[in-house]
Amino acid sequence: MIINHPLLGPRDANEFIHLGDESMIDRPDGMGEHAAKEFHEYLYLRDNPAGKYRELWYHEAGDRSWLVVTRDTVTHEIFNVELARDVARSRGRSK
């Protein structure tokens, strides 16, 4: 697979590490009322779809950036690559 890095251009997927579901960007509030339940869902439960999937990749052998890759889990085709930072900011996070 080739991941088209937003800053560095097309790179071999071998340079990256796959972490998992993009929902891990949205960490629950540890002090919230339902923190235990929310953290259980956050850490352990997955949608795991067959088809389009948004997931976190880490460019370990490159610029150490975190990316959100939209990829098809049936064909391995990659549709879109964004910086995870930009995705988090677009949801109102400061970084």
Partner: protein, 416 residues
């Protein structure tokens, strides 16, 4: 028809014209007591033990494709019980004991061959960890031997003992482990289940569950609606996709694991050997091919094929421990879709929905578990209580903090 040496001789002398189909191909009835979704090894084993041991009646196995078309036909055929944790090891030892009597139980040749498994250790720490694991195995009633370097040299002189970084220090040997003919396991269970009256319905895809007031009343299928008192899902590899139809999210990700077979070679590898420094395991099939594999590709996939970087990684692991295989050519390679759970261990449990049961999350260790998985799932279906050997394999173990994390890497499915 019961198989026997006499029967084979008789058929041989009469032109092999008397063989009959091994199982029926019935149309589904309107309702059953038990519906098992998934006609793989585990589903068929569940049907077999449910009918034979627990006296279940009126059972159907629904299979989307043909039976044995999933992971039961795509694995590297290794059978072993060398786990370390209490939640796992008694279960896998139960499985190995069932394997040892499987062919007599099924009256079917599954080519079970107890040729042993040798896990190599490459550091003092790893040797100590294997000693501990061996003790856990012995306590569960399994066999385990810690071999020193000289004993391994005698057994496997072809290994690379003096690799600068990863010299062989010791090994954990389980002699009762081995390999079995994977397809024959599915066929044997299917035949036995059919003989006990189980309807095996192929080309029947489950497209949804019929729910009423939080209760599962049956399944919608490509062959129409079928009612069931108990619906048992057993579709590892596709667990998330099926359970999603029941509105459940699972602690599972689907990953691809590749496997490889070389051209046929003369007998050279005595049993199953695993490399402790890289991830590489190998055995030699009865036809002479080296059957081997290694790590997951590492990303979610339902593709049943992997990519080249892992091919290189697996083969370099093989070359590192067994340089002689460098001249063997690869005959074929393929990928299978694994239910990778959040702690690397499986589930055999009720769901929150009455009448709906779940078996899955086998990671890449499902084949060896086939008999015990079927037995324990049948126990759960028949009695509504967990079998003692599967009592920790629960869906709610994460929220209770009772993970069965053999490798200790946490909630990271691609590392188990």
């Amino acid at each position: 028809m019961r198989y026997s040496a006499f029967g084979i001789l008789k058929q041989g002398l009469t032109g092999n014209k008397g063989w009959k189909p091994v199982w029926r191909e019935p149309e589904p009835k309107k309702s059953y007591d038990y519906i098992i979704v998934g006609g793989g090894g585990h589903g068929l084993a569940t049907a077999h033990y449910l009918a034979k041991v627990y006296g279940g009646k009126n059972i159907a196995v629904l299979e989307k494709g043909w039976i044995g078309s999933g992971n039961i036909g795509r694995n590297t055929t290794i059978v072993r019980s060398n786990y370390g944790l209490e939640g796992n090891q008694p279960f896998y030892e139960m499985s190995l004991k069932l394997w040892e009597g499987l062919e007599q139980d099924l009256n079917y040749n599954a080519m079970m061959s107890q040729r042993g498994i040798l896990n190599l250790a490459h550091s003092d720490g790893q040797r100590d960890a294997y000693a501990k694991r061996g003790n856990a195995m012995l306590m569960s009633g399994a066999d385990a031997e810690l071999l020193d370097r000289a004993a391994i040299q005698k057994m496997c002189p072809f290994l690379n003992f003096d690799n600068e970084r990863f010299p062989i220090k010791a090994g954990l040997l389980q002699r009762r482990a081995g390999t079995a003919r994977h397809d024959a396991v599915a066929w044997g269970y299917a035949r036995s289940a059919d003989l006990h009256g189980v309807d095996i319905i192929q080309n029947c895809e489950v497209t949804g569950f019929q729910m009423k007031n939080g209760k599962c009343l049956g399944v919608q299928t490509s062959k129409g609606m079928i009612k069931a008192k108990k619906t048992a899902v057993c579709v590892a590899g596709a667990s998330s996709r099926v359970m999603e139809k029941a509105g459940m999210r699972l602690p599972i990700e689907s990953h691809v694991l590749q496997a490889f077979v070389s051209e046929g070679l003369k007998p050279t590898i005595p049993g199953v050997i695993t490399y402790g420094a890289g991830h590489f395991y190998v055995s030699q099939s009865d036809k002479g091919g080296l059957v081997f594999g290694g790590d997951l590709d590492g990303y979610n996939s339902y593709a049943q094929r992997g990519n080249l970087p892992v091919v290189e990684d697996v083969c370099s692991g093989g070359m590192s421990i067994m340089p002689m295989i460098g001249r063997a050519r690869l005959l074929r390679m393929w990928g299978g879709v694994m239910d990778m759970s959040m702690d690397g261990s499986p589930f055999i449990d009720k769901t929150g929905i009455e009448g709906l049961y779940f078996n899955g999350g086998w990671c890449y260790g499902g084949f060896k578990a086939t008999p015990a998985s079927g037995y324990c799932y049948a126990h759960l279906l028949a009695t509504d209580t967990s079998h003692e050997n599967a009592s920790q394999m629960r869906l709610d173990r994460f929220i209770r903090g009772n993970m069965i994390d053999e490798k200790g890497v946490g909630a990271q499915p691609n590392l188990h």
